[in-house]
């Protein structure tokens, strides 16, 4: 049972009879009249438990893009359904106000996902609500609340129906803007680009006729001697190499990075952006990409997806990965890599160069990995720390800068140690990590180190 402002207004109208007959008895009689009218209104309201509700939600949407949650409401109550219907979503789903849908449904004020409805018996309406999710992962919908008011709009009945709904929010993949330029570089390496340069790489591809502009060093004199024309050798980068991306979802991935005046985003999100760009690039380059999200156990895994199925599989499996507040089990990571990769591969560890965590976790095991594989350690730096480093205004800021400098030195030491063990290190701010890691991959490919 609910009352509306109209019931309060009706009670307020009681001032008129009370002024004509000023006594407390008049007030009681008027209050009784109001209660009676409200009860009659409730009795005449359509039963919200006899309204059929269906929630249609797209299976998945990319972070920060628009999706529409649509309620299909059919009035089977035998009476006209007037009132408000709320399509409830959690705060991170970013539900906007109800969009309304013509005469039958209008947007209602008072919060997100609310619709005024006026449905004759037996009719149905679609109630669309715009969702702009602000967090990755599975966003579960709440119930659907139906507030059915009586014909006078004084009072009504309300019920919340458990209507299932789930929207999977995929990673944003904002780093895909870097993909075209890296693909162009890949094609240049491949020797297929429009510019006449020799394909870089180390794998012999084919012989072809010399054209002006080709590197004279690539002329194959033996083949030239056999034919009438000058022949050059072309190389191409290795294909069908294995790339294993290991995403560290331990406690250091949970910390937020970003400018000091923003709320920032978890370190893991920047790692996921880098992983997606690298996977897209490596997939185009013809390498076989696998992914493991690991802290003390495997949280997510992509194996055996290639071609057009790779990126959907990556997005789907990375959508629900969340940081866990546990220390990462680095010997376990080594075991995972050994069981997955029997031949030489590029192993990319997306983690954090936190000196204490690296010294106790990654450093003792990285040489075991680097012996068998090419190892790249990619770490997300913090923009806020970068800001602290430059502070000189007050004494407190100078101390902040000193602490940041000390942290840098320790990280440099750790980086040096990692390089000594044979791992490459890429450390960059969240927005730069993905392109830097892609460049590192291209460099390794060009050098034939995969």
């Amino acid at each position: 049972m609910v009352v509306t402002w109209r019931a309060a207004a009706l009670m307020g109208l009681g001032v008129v009879p009370v002024l004509l007959l000023p006594a407390n008895g008049t007030v009681l009689v008027w209050a009784a009249v109001v209660v009676l009218v409200c009860l009659v209104d409730v009795a005449l309201a359509a039963s919200p438990r006899r309204v059929a509700v269906q929630r249609r939600v797209p299976a998945s949407v990319r972070l920060r893009s628009e999706a529409t949650s649509e309620l299909v409401v059919r009035n089977a109550s035998g009476r006209r359904l007037r009132g408000v219907i709320r399509d409830a979503w959690g705060p991170s789903a970013g539900a906007g106000p109800g969009r309304g849908n013509g005469q039958r449904a209008r947007p209602a004020s008072g919060g997100s996902g609310r619709h005024h409805v006026d449905l004759p018996d037996g009719e149905a309406a679609r109630l669309p609500t715009t969702l702009v999710p602000t967090r990755r992962g599975d966003r579960a919908a709440g119930g659907v609340t139906i507030r059915s008011l009586g014909p006078l709009g004084l009072a009504g009945r309300q019920v919340t129906l458990p209507v299932p709904g789930r929207l999977r929010v995929l990673p944003e993949f904002a780093s895909r803007k870097h993909l075209p330029s890296r693909l162009a570089r890949l094609r240049e390496m491949d020797g297929r680009a429009a510019v006449q340069i020799r394909g870089e790489g180390t794998e012999f591809d084919s012989l072809r006729e010399y054209v002006v502009g080709d590197d004279v060093r690539s002329i194959d004199w033996r083949a030239t001697a056999r034919r009438r024309e000058v022949v050059v050798r072309t190389w191409r980068p290795e294909r069908d190499r294995r790339v294993l991306i290991v995403l560290d979802t331990g406690r250091t991935a949970a910390a937020r990075v970003g400018a000091a005046d923003s709320t920032g985003a978890p370190r893991l999100d920047a790692s996921i952006e880098a992983a997606l760009l690298l996977a897209a690039l490596a997939g185009h380059a013809g390498d076989r990409v696998e992914l493991v999200a690991f802290d003390r156990t495997v949280r997510s895994r992509v194996v055996g997806a290639a071609g057009p199925r790779l990126m959907p599989a990556m997005a789907e499996s990375l959508a629900t990965v969340e940081p866990v507040l546990l220390e990462t089990d680095w010997p376990g990571v080594v075991t995972q890599v050994r069981t997955r990769m029997t031949q030489r591969a590029l192993v990319v560890l997306l983690t954090t160069l936190d000196p204490a965590a690296v010294e106790n976790g990654l450093l003792p095991v990285v040489d075991q990995l680097a012996r068998d594989h090419t190892v790249v350690v990619a770490s997300v730096a913090d923009e806020e720390v970068a800001g602290l480093r430059a502070g000189r205004e007050t004494v407190a800021e100078v101390y902040d800068a000193a602490a940041a400098a000390r942290g840098d030195l320790e990280r440099t030491a750790v980086t040096t140690m990692l390089r000594r063990y044979g791992a490459d290190v890429v450390e960059a701010l969240p927005d730069d990590l993905a392109p830097r890691l892609a460049d590192e991959y291209l460099a390794l490919k060009a050098a034939g180190r995969l």
């Binding site: 309060a8 438990r49 458990p162 920032g264 101390y399």
Partner: protein
């Protein structure tokens, strides 16, 4: 060759989303009936209701078993030593109807001819018009320990009060039936006769203390009598059994079938014969217009409905797990605060110097393992500064205080900017 399209994480060319292939379920109702909801509500409210019921039963039981009593002094329902329940009980047993009132207005309304009006001591003062209302009721008036203006008004200035001391039981020594019945008693004498021969009715005063003060005065006006007792101990529970107190009290108060027992309230300003009170005229207070009280009640009820309208939420809140909100930079900030709290300006300076030397060395193309002399020589070559100054700056003694540290940080920045070669 054209660049291939950039695929988003989920390919847009995929067939229809799964949600539309697997039709979502249609929900009608929440699987409850009126009966199951009532049962649910009852199950939820069972224990609170039980507790409330037990409390209500307990209160009811106590109310039936224990008579209502008060702690008001001289009240007929106060069994404590300063109460007067003993006298009141005896009077009721003898068939006297006692009306317990606490305001002058109620007393005036209840008292009339053929009744007795008892006024117990007032903790404050009666106003002039209250006294005149009380003396105009036509009832026989019994006043205990009245204040100055009260005694003058009710006795028409024939009796006055004064301070005097108790001096043991004395005989009444007067011609008054009540006094004769009571005999000797011990009450504080505080009344003396101020009547003159010109007064129509002269008081009868009893129980003198030998110095002109009396404990009891009685005036018989044609229509009623007025009795003044200077000491209220005559009806108090703790002293009513002393000497002849009980006889005097019963004689004074038991004259008529009806006894109006006024225990004055210091906040009471009613007089009983003036305009109707603000509450009777429907006013919130005397400043508001008549009829404002019911209007205010309407407003309150409307406000209650408004509150009910606003308080009902449109369905429950939707919960979700919140992410970690710890910033990565907090470790660095915490370390900076530790440095500052410990006044470790030397340690902080060492960090700044090492980081600056590291950056300068890498800009000048020196190996990371270069020693101090190599770095200083390279910087001197790059900046044309005196070697001693550069060595002091990069490897000198630690700064003494915070100001020196800030100065050092500025000078290191300056040196670095000089070294930088684009």
């Amino acid at each position: 060759m054209t660049a291939p399209a950039v695929p988003p994480p989920h390919a847009p060319t995929r067939p229809a989303p799964a949600a539309l292939v697997n039709e979502p379920p249609v929900i009608i109702g929440d699987d409850t009936t009126g009966r199951s909801r009532a049962a649910n509500r009852w199950r939820r409210m069972r224990w609170p209701l039980t507790v409330l019921g037990v409390i209500a039963l307990l209160v009811l039981f106590l109310a039936v078993v224990r008579q209502p009593t008060s702690a008001e002094s001289y009240a007929p329902d106060n069994p404590e030593s300063d109460g007067a329940m003993a006298v009141a009980e005896v009077l009721e047993d003898q068939g006297v109807q006692i009306t317990h009132v606490t305001s002058v207005a109620d007393a005036v309304a209840a008292a009339g001819p053929d009744s007795t009006l008892l006024v117990t001591p007032n903790p404050a003062f009666f106003a002039e018009d209250q006294i005149s209302s009380l003396s105009r009721t036509g009832a026989d008036l019994v006043v205990l320990n009245p204040d100055y203006s009260m005694i003058g008004a009710v006795t028409r200035n024939t009796v006055d009060s004064m301070y005097s001391e108790l001096s043991g039981p004395v005989q009444p020594q007067c011609d008054d039936p009540a006094a004769r019945a009571a005999g000797a008693l011990e009450l504080g004498p505080g009344l003396y006769d101020t009547s003159t021969n010109g007064d129509a009715v002269r008081p009868v005063l009893c129980w003198p203390d030998g110095m002109g003060a009396f404990a009891y005065a009685r005036l018989d006006f044609p229509d009623r009598s007025v009795t003044v007792v200077s000491d209220p101990a005559v009806i108090r529970n703790d002293s009513v059994l002393d000497e002849g107190n009980a006889a005097l009290a019963l004689w004074m108060l038991g004259q008529h079938e009806d006894l109006v027992w006024l225990v004055p309230n210091p906040m009471d300003v009613s007089t009983g014969d003036d305009e109707p009170t603000p509450a009777e005229r429907g006013q919130v207070n005397p400043q508001m217009p008549p009829g404002s009280a019911p209007v205010a009640l309407v407003a309150v009820l409307a406000a209650v409905l408004l509150a009910l309208w606003r308080v009902r939420r449109m369905g429950p809140l939707v919960v979700e797990d919140l992410p970690v909100l710890v910033r990565s930079a907090e470790a660095t900030r915490g370390r900076a605060r530790l440095y500052r709290a410990a006044r470790a300006s030397g340690h902080a300076a060492a960090g700044l110097r090492a980081a600056a030397a590291d950056r300068i060395a890498s800009r000048l193309g020196l190996a990371r393992s270069s020693d101090a002399n190599t770095v200083v020589d390279a910087v001197v070559a790059a900046t044309n500064r005196p070697p001693q100054q550069v060595a002091d700056l990069l490897y000198g003694p630690p700064p003494a205080d915070d100001a020196a540290l800030a100065e050092l940080a500025r000078r290191l920045d300056f040196l670095e900017s000089e070294v930088y070669r684009p």
